[in-house]
């Protein structure tokens, strides 16, 4: 089964989208962008005001290059995540949290998002992030086989959720979790 997924926005569409949303600058600093794309554990979720939220383990994330970080895309497998993607299509809120092996964690949220297909450069970036993530998993003690199984993805099965980051929070465990970063 293959749901029709629209392509990601072209550069001129992104500019128009940003302008319409009033997002003239990114709320994500260079440091945060570096962290988010360093090969972390990716958690994705879509909200619901009537039922249960739906969460998943994602693959990685990319950001529109100009201005840096204004438009985010978080990627996950389509297989098994139909309910989550359906919530997004129906206007649900979106959240993604990226966590490093040192438990440093950052959450980015938006009131809505759009399901998109990945671009070739997205796929290349996901492979880079996944390779870094596998290395981290091995460093903390997982076997290579487990790390590969946990992170492997099929390029043809990848879906993206594109959204304008509206809020960014520290999510590192502890009393400061939930503090806004922007």
């Amino acid at each position: 089964m293959t749901d029709a997924i629209p392509p990601a926005r072209a550069a001129d569409e992104i500019a128009a989208y940003r302008s319409a949303a009033g997002a003239s600058r990114s709320i994500l600093s260079e440091d945060i962008l570096g962290f988010l794309q360093a090969g972390q554990t990716v958690a994705v979720a879509a909200g619901s005001s009537t039922g249960y939220p739906v969460c998943a383990i994602g693959i990685g994330c990319t950001f529109a290059p100009q201005p840096a970080g204004t438009l985010a895309r978080v990627f996950l497998a389509r297989g098994g995540n139909g309910a989550l993607l359906e919530l997004v299509r129906n206007g649900a809120s979106v959240g993604m949290t990226l966590t490093g092996v040192d438990h440093r964690s950052i959450q980015v949220k938006a009131r809505s998002g759009r399901v998109v297909a990945p671009e070739p450069q997205d796929i290349a970036e996901l492979h880079r992030q996944i390779a870094a993530h596998r290395d981290w998993l091995e460093i903390v003690g997982f076997t290579r086989a487990f790390a590969e199984t946990l992170t492997v993805f099929a390029e043809e099965d990848v879906a993206g959720i594109e959204f304008l980051p509206e809020r960014v929070y520290v999510q590192t465990p502890g009393p400061g979790a939930g503090s806004r970063l922007e």
Binding site: P53, C55, G80, T149, P175
Partner: protein
């Protein structure tokens, strides 16, 4: 009544090895997503989430009483997504204690015991469960039968006639029957709320006599909670904690360092399991086992060693109750050509042989008393009863761990290859064995001689 969803097979996904993804919403449907390390299996259709801080996740859970969680099997990498309904929060009871002990063990390692404190166990009902399609590994072959191993170890313990033999049988049996390579047998001092090492397995330094407080590390957490505590993977937090602890130790006072026997343990354990040794409500000690491998100790190891822990605790209590009647001391003695200077510091009863720290506390007081008596009368034969009743030793009221202190002292002297030894000479009796003549020196209140 709706049948509960069977989540028993998800227990390997709740080991805290691979963090779980938890999503909640506020009343407006704005989602919040985080990674959590502790999802506790409660029973059929029930899990518990740890409540440490009143953060957005908890506020949402209280507001909507719904959540979604994705967990990963630590052996196969299979993923499962659960829908949860919040039911209630436990602030006491077995679920709460088990979760609190585990958290305390982690917090202690990271030096954040005061920050990482469990406020409650949020009990949730699983209303839906689905396996998320993804790549997975075959489940490893079944581990050896833990019940049979526990039975064989129990048989080894049964033959122990005194506490020393019991400790040896336990340590040797863990290696032989469970294939455990690193273990520490700690006795409890209920009055001081401390644990001290009686024996260990697999370390370069045996660490006999080393002490930790209740609540310190995994063993201390097991002592404080009275429940087994198991960590299946050394996380980055542990590494950070070890570094912090190492720095703190390096900044310690020389006086304190001199009087501290290093606690044995792996520098970088992959897995740890601590089980209390109990008899009823009385804590007799803690057994700590560890391994450089991650995922070395599973639920079955915990269950088996918890049973063994109860047996050891009961035997320690029984042996304690069998204290021998006093027997007349035998005057004896002998001259040695060599001498050894024994220095005593009354403020903590610490003893030094020459310039080397030996021991302190009750064990130090016992040896000092014995050596003083030997110097005065030449006696080398003593009874445990006379020492237990000796008011100068200032033993705790119940003196229930006198025997463990005596064994600790004997082992410490043996470990240091000291020219002064204590050997068991009969039930309730021991003998001072001297390879050098002790020359006793008592420090003045300022610590000078």
């Amino acid at each position: 009544m709706t049948a509960e969803i069977d989540i028993e097979r998800l227990r390997p996904a709740m080991e805290g090895v691979v963090a779980a993804v938890l999503a909640t919403c506020d009343a407006e449907g704005q989602v919040n997503v985080s990674l959590i390390s502790q999802v506790h299996y409660v029973g059929p259709g029930r899990i518990a989430l740890s409540y440490q801080f009143f953060n957005k996740t908890r506020r949402n859970l209280m507001e909507t009483r719904r959540a979604s969680i994705t967990v990963v099997d630590c052996e196969t990498a299979e993923r499962y997504r659960l829908s949860l309904d919040y039911l209630e929060t436990h602030t006491e009871g077995p679920v709460f204690e088990a979760m609190r002990a585990r958290l305390a063990g982690i917090a202690s390692h990271t030096g954040m015991a005061g920050v990482f404190r469990l406020q409650g166990s949020d009990i949730c009902r699983v209303t839906a469960m689905e396996r998320v399609p993804c790549a997975s590994l075959p489940r490893p072959e079944d581990s050896p039968n833990r019940l049979a191993a526990a039975r064989r170890l129990a048989e080894r313990l049964r033959g122990a006639g005194d506490l020393g033999a019991l400790v040896d049988a336990a340590i040797e049996g863990l290696g032989a029957e469970f294939g455990i390579t690193h273990a520490i047998f700690l006795a409890a001092d209920a009055g001081e709320k401390r644990l001290f090492t009686l024996a260990s397995l697999g370390y370069a330094e045996a660490g006999i006599g080393s002490e930790i407080a209740y609540g310190e590390g995994l063993a201390g957490a097991a002592a404080q909670s009275g429940t087994p505590v198991r960590i299946t993977m050394m996380t980055a937090e542990y590494r950070y904690g070890e570094a912090v602890a190492g720095t703190a130790r390096s900044l310690g006072l020389d006086w304190d360092r001199e009087r501290t026997i290093p606690f044995p343990g792996l520098e970088m354990p992959g897995s740890q399991l601590a089980v209390p040794l109990r008899f009823g409500e009385r804590l007799c000690g803690v057994l700590l086992v560890e391994s450089p491998e991650i995922l070395r100790f599973g639920h079955e190891d915990e269950d088996a060693l918890a049973l063994i822990g109860d047996q050891i605790g009961a035997m320690m209590a029984a042996l304690d109750a069998e204290r021998a009647e006093a027997e007349p001391a035998e005057p004896a003695g002998g001259d040695c050509a060599e001498t050894v200077r024994v220095r005593h510091f009354a403020r903590d009863d610490s003893l030094f042989l020459g310039h080397d720290y030996l021991i302190k506390g009750v064990a130090g007081a016992i040896l000092w008393r014995v050596l003083q008596e030997h110097a005065a009368s030449g006696r080398i034969e003593f009874t445990t009863r006379e020492l237990r009743l000796d008011p100068s030793l200032r033993l705790p009221g119940n003196a229930e761990n006198f025997d463990t202190r005596l064994i600790l002292l004997r082992r410490r002297l043996d470990e240091r290859d000291a020219p002064i030894r204590l050997s068991r000479s009969g039930r309730g009796r021991f003998r001072l064995v001297l390879a050098a003549r002790p020359v006793l020196a008592e420090a003045d209140p300022e610590g000078a001689f």
